[in-house]
Symmetry: C2
Subunit: 304 residues, 2 copies
């Protein structure tokens, strides 16, 4: 069973075109929901793709360009009108808080739920926050304004219990949690049974990296090394590499090279410029460099 | 030929639902374009209904509820990215300017076009601005926050020239403009030919009134008296009249009564609550009071 489910809500860059929306993604890890970036009309995309607004736990905004946050105040106001009571955690650039405050009443008594806003810092990767099962790190990107990507990493998991061995040694249920976490078992006679004999290796820790917006930036490679799935922006086709540098964006080939050098298992590219109507060329180009690639299509789901 | 063309871009109230968008309308008067309110995703609706973003001349924002302005900063940023050079005139509540400034760079040197922002006042109807052919007045509405509707009124028009009479009296072309504006013609012998004999009555001065959001408010009746077309909000059905009062909104019947008392020629209702999926009941109810009524449907055009 998959640990993560990623749903693309927006795949386009700043000027909306070709029925593509600006950046937004929903990442679910078991029952925890993260909204990553929130371009204009994200709440409409959530309606369209049957994503329950009320279930959001965390919102992460990468940087202060409108195509990554103009949908936020609309979504927050809708959550409030819908009577949300649960706290909502928002992480973003410091300037974002004033913009939210000016356009919501979230510090007023009649606002229904609490917003915990945490301003991010930029320049170095750090642990932004953790949930019960995940750590979320920033990925410092190289854009015209301060910008972070996000790395979602499952925490160390308990080893899997070997039920037959547990029965064979007649081990009390109360000890199983400790054994999963690495404790040996000592029976009534003082015999030590190593936990390796009672368990098998833990499931792999899955990872997802979101990298938008950025120009080609090898500094992120060690941070996302061996990632299971990486979303990397590819605003431009390879022939437009000079435009990409000037505008602090990446091309298809550059996204592919990052995924390859990071030894990623799979790559999704997105944030396509409005100048391109057809995404087939994007797919062909990126697969020249990194075969296990996909283009971001709104409504499509990816599992890790 | 019609003088005005109105295109509905959004017909819903605050919570987007049933594929209906929040408030926005495009009013065209000959070659001049007005955007009236600008809920989230208005720029996407303009794409959808093939309305050219670059042609906008004026934007009017009625009040500071998000479903009437959350699409504005996205639209402005897109106009800038598209390289607009022409000044854009925005009228709205004073608080709007800071929100625009915080989320655009429009006072910075590298912003491509000039925004002329004019803060509105509330409480009394006044001439907000005029164009070559129109006067635009505020309509003071009764809502939870200060709110203005807008009355668009054609200026006094020149009389229509009677070409046969002009030829009969052999009148020089250079005098025709004066005659249309009411001058008599004096021929070489000093004979006076009255302009009534050279012209016929001017075309009627057409009017459009936008009234959203408001509770039932008879004070607007003299302001919109004899209007050709009135858009009036009807957030609720008639059975929900208590909710309407509490939330400073109107019902179908109330919108119909206003249109009737104002002797309007035609009524469009909109700003429907998300609680109602089906608009047929709205149409039936409003027509009980005011037969020449329509419900606002996104993409539909109305001509005056």
């Amino acid at each position: 069973m998959a640990e993560f489910k990623l749903t693309i809500l927006g795949s386009n860059s700043a000027v909306p075109a070709h029925n593509r929306n600006p950046s937004a993604q929903i990442l679910k890890h078991h029952s925890t929901s993260f909204l990553i970036d929130c371009g204009e009309a994200t709440q409409f995309q959530m309606n369209k793709f049957h994503i329950k607004r009320g279930k959001l736990d965390y919102i992460l905004i990468s940087h202060m360009h409108g195509d990554h946050y103009f949908g936020l105040v609309g979504l927050l106001n809708t959550l409030n009108l819908n009577g949300r009571k649960t706290d909502l955690n928002i992480f973003g650039p410091p300037e974002l808080e004033q913009i939210i405050l000016l356009q919501t009443d979230y510090k007023r008594e009649d606002w229904n739920f609490k917003i915990n806003f945490t301003p991010m810092t930029f320049g170095e990767s750090y642990l932004l926050f953790e949930t019960k099962n995940l750590e979320v790190f920033t990925i410092p990107l190289d854009h015209r304004v301060p910008c972070n990507g996000f790395l979602f990493k499952e925490k160390k998991k308990a080893r899997k219990i070997n039920i037959e061995a547990i029965e064979q040694f007649n081990i009390p249920k109360t000890l199983i949690k400790d054994i999963k976490n690495g404790a040996d078992y000592v029976d009534e006679r003082g015999n030590v049974i190593k936990h390796e004999n009672l368990t098998s290796d833990a499931k792999e820790r899955k990872t997802y990296a979101y990298c938008s917006d950025t120009k080609y930036n090898e500094r992120i490679i060690p941070i996302i090394k061996n990632v299971d799935l990486v979303y990397h922006e590819a605003t431009f086709l390879k022939e437009d590499d000079e435009k990409a540098v000037l505008r602090f964006h990446s091309t298809t080939h550059q996204a592919g090279i990052i995924a390859k050098k990071a030894n990623a298992k799979k790559l999704i590219i997105g944030h396509f410029s409005a100048r391109y109507a057809n995404l087939n060329v994007f797919l062909n180009e990126v697969q020249e460099v990194f075969p296990n690639s996909a283009v971001a299509i709104e409504g499509e789901e990816h599992f890790i």
